[in-house]
């Protein structure tokens, strides 16, 4: 379970971004976070994952009861936190398949497991590239190198599938996707959900939520969650925008 309590965070230059976020995500739950541009949605993910531009001012973040704010970025990831980036960066020259394997072996080493066997890894790759309708080109190209926006998002979901996190935070995974790609990515997310895992989606649009049904929808505004509700809240936001929601 991910528990975020009264989290306050700012940029290293002192600009306050998160002003007391409370969020509890239980296993098996899908949460959607919506909110106007600049409200702190991406910053929430970056702050909890340990992005170097952010500093935690107060509050706590625990994953299955373990305080993750004392861990470095890779330890947080290996503990089961996955952040799908809004703008995945390119790392030319590092083959996607090598990167995925390195990441998986890092996690396994952290958990005290041996490196994954070739056959096991190939099986995983085959299963998930097939699920996400990704062809072999993705394996041997540099990480996100020359990928379109949609291909990068698909690659993020592939990484999520391979790394099998407890909590996946997907930052605008639907942006840049055409209708077919959206359907494929959503199918991937749904198929990867198990009763032990949770997903937090950041999105601006209802269309992703038509495919990935959230249990809870939250509105983040000015660095705080100001409204929470069920899936109907997203529909209301789509219709009425954010102006009707007051500050808390």
């Amino acid at each position: 379970m991910l528990s975020i309590q009264n989290l306050k965070a700012s940029l290293k230059d002192g600009t306050s971004i998160l002003k007391g976020v409370n969020l509890t995500v239980r296993p098996g739950e899908i949460h959607a976070i919506m909110g106007p541009n600049g409200s702190g949605k991406s910053s929430l993910f970056k702050a909890i994952s340990g992005h170097p531009l952010y500093q935690i001012d107060s509050g706590s973040v625990t994953l299955n009861g373990k305080d993750i704010l004392n861990l470095d970025i890779s330890e947080r990831a290996n503990s089961g936190l996955f952040i799908s980036m809004q703008y995945p960066i390119e790392i030319p020259g590092v083959k996607n398949i090598d990167f995925l394997r390195m990441a998986l072996d890092s996690k396994r080493a952290y958990l005290g497991l041996e490196k994954i066997k070739d056959s096991e890894f190939n099986e995983l790759m085959d299963r998930y590239t097939s699920l996400l309708e990704m062809d072999d080109r993705y394996r041997n190209r540099g990480v996100n190198e020359g990928f379109s926006g949609g291909e990068k998002k698909r690659n993020e979901v592939l990484q999520m599938a391979i790394l099998n996190p407890l909590v996946a935070c997907l930052d605008e995974t639907d942006s840049g996707l055409d209708i077919d790609a959206l359907r494929i990515v959503a199918r991937g997310i749904n198929e990867l959900m198990t009763p032990e895992k949770s997903v937090i989606l950041v999105t601006h649009y209802q269309r992703l939520l038509d495919y990935v049904k959230p249990h809870f929808v939250h509105v983040l505004r000015h660095g705080k969650i100001v409204q929470s509700g069920g899936p109907e809240l997203a529909l209301q936001l789509e219709e009425q925008g954010y102006d009707w929601i007051g500050e808390v």
Partner: protein, 341 residues
């Protein structure tokens, strides 16, 4: 006078570089006190100067003169026309002079090995004369060793359609200076110069390169990448000279630097001397740290900070050479970079 005597006479004429000498501006001139050049008392047995113009009379670089003065015997080799040759070059003495005459259409690939360096000062000079359509690949990727003070001067003269490829990975410590005088004297001759410096400690590495475009349709490319740690200091003084009547010359120079410590220092001096309008010459230089977003991305996938840094540095290094066509040198260098990671 023979080569030795001419070189000594020229050396005494120009003397050791003064602090205001532009070509030695970045070099820690205090270490030059270790240089002791013995007066020439006997003639050299070779008649190199008669057969090849080594440019000794007008030479301004003492690093090009000292090996000629101090060497006991030059190593001279002729590669016959249309022959293929691969081999290694290793100086036998502290001071050495090597000369290759590569005849028409010959294809030569040579690896320069470092001599085991136990002395205060060593200097070597390598001369290559390429006839029409000849190809020369020179490469070096020696395991790191310390040089107290080392000079290496490479001078190459290329005739029409000849191609020069110089590929180097340098990880030595200590103090060294490498200079290159590359003459594209024939039409359509080319040079591709790629250098990767991975420097640590208080290493002083200094490079001085001049590419002389002396004929039309000549082409040169310089790609230099440097990763500096500790208190290391590297300078790259890279000049491109395009002569009169040299139309449609194409020249590019790109230097990328990553500084891993606050005390590391890089000095770059691009020089363009162009005496014709119909040329395309570019130069660029970047300097920075490892990309923080890339490091974050890798770590956010569970890869620890040190490994993430290694991956990015490895990538930076490999990309210096990765787009090259497969050759003895490029394969050897890529393998050396990968294995030493």
């Amino acid at each position: 006078m023979d080569t030795k005597q001419i070189a000594y006479s020229r050396f005494t004429e120009i003397g050791l570089p003064k602090p205001r000498n532009d070509d030695w501006f970045f070099f820690p001139n205090a270490v030059l006190k270790n240089i002791l050049v013995q007066p020439v008392t006997e003639s050299s047995s070779e008649s190199i100067a008669k057969e090849f113009d080594l440019g000794v009379e007008t030479e301004k670089n003492i690093a090009a003169l000292i090996p000629l003065i101090q060497t006991r015997k030059a190593f001279v080799k002729k590669i016959p026309a249309n022959e293929q040759e691969t081999g290694i070059l290793k100086a036998r003495d502290d001071f050495s002079h090597t000369l290759f005459h590569i005849q028409k259409g010959a294809d030569v690939s040579l690896e320069i090995l470092d001599n085991k360096n136990e002395h205060d000062f060593t200097a070597e000079r390598l001369d290559f004369f390429l006839e029409e359509n000849a190809q020369l690949e020179l490469f070096f990727c020696n395991p790191p060793q310390k040089h107290n003070l080392q000079f290496r001067h490479i001078r190459i003269v290329a005739a029409a359609n000849a191609s020069i490829k110089i590929l180097g990975v340098q990880q030595n410590t200590g103090c060294y200076r490498q200079s290159f005088d590359l003459f594209l004297n024939g039409e359509d001759s080319t040079v591709d110069f790629r250098l990767l410096n991975k420097l640590e400690d208080d290493t002083e590495a200094h490079y001085h390169l001049i590419i002389h475009h002396n004929a039309p349709h000549t082409k040169s490319n310089q790609l230099v990448r440097q990763i500096l740690n500790g208190k290391s200091h590297v300078s790259y003084d890279g000049a491109v000279h395009v002569g009169k009547d040299c139309t449609e010359v194409n020249s590019a120079q790109l230097i990328n630097n990553i500084l891993l410590s606050e005390e590391a220092k890089v000095s770059i001096k691009p020089v363009l001397k162009i005496y014709h309008d119909d040329v395309e010459c570019s130069h660029g230089n970047t300097c920075g740290e490892l990309d923080a977003e890339s490091l974050y991305y890798l770590q956010s996938r569970g890869i620890d900070a040190k490994k993430a840094e290694d991956i990015l540095l490895q990538n930076f290094a490999v990309n210096t050479f990765s787009e090259l066509n497969s050759s003895v040198g490029s394969k050897r260098i890529l393998s050396a970079i990968t294995n030493r990671a």
